[in-house]
Symmetry: C2
Subunit: 89 residues, 2 copies
């Protein structure tokens, strides 16, 4: 069995995993229980993977992390938007 298959499964799952979180946030219009610190640290980490992937010319690292970046940015923006819209100070 080709070992690379685990790498591909891993990359697809750890990238696509954030889609259900985005859909849930958009549906329920809240993400209060989702940690902003986690999202921000994760986004900076993913940006670092993108720089690393670009510099070592790794297209898989680049593509997987670009998608992960977009999904997590959308989750963060949705979380902030809904928290401001639905609970005005």
């Amino acid at each position: 069995m080709n070992i690379d298959i685990f790498g591909y499964i891993a990359a697809i799952l750890t990238t696509a995993a954030f889609l259900p979180q985005l859909i849930k946030t958009l549906k329920t219009k809240k993400a209060d229980d989702v940690s902003s610190t986690t999202l921000i640290m994760f986004i900076i980490g993913v940006l670092s993977w993108i720089i690393y992937g670009y510099e070592i010319s790794s297209r898989p690292i680049l593509i997987a992390n670009l998608i992960t970046l977009i999904l997590n940015l959308l989750i963060l923006v949705s979380k902030i938007y809904f928290s401001k819209t639905l609970s005005p100070q």
Copy 2:
């Protein structure tokens, strides 16, 4: 500048990022807004990274993903525990 530094920053941030989520969940005793599907997909993905890291003998992939696995398992278990404890059917 050594390019590997971005790889290390990336690995540390995308691993440590889940600690604030775990702390938040334990403090607030709820994680209703956190998607179970996301957690389960992510955990299976991280398990695949561990198998891949083991097979290609990559200690960084192995260590980073073992920590990520433990943190995400604890988040999932906490989420399930608090949802059952605090909202009995």
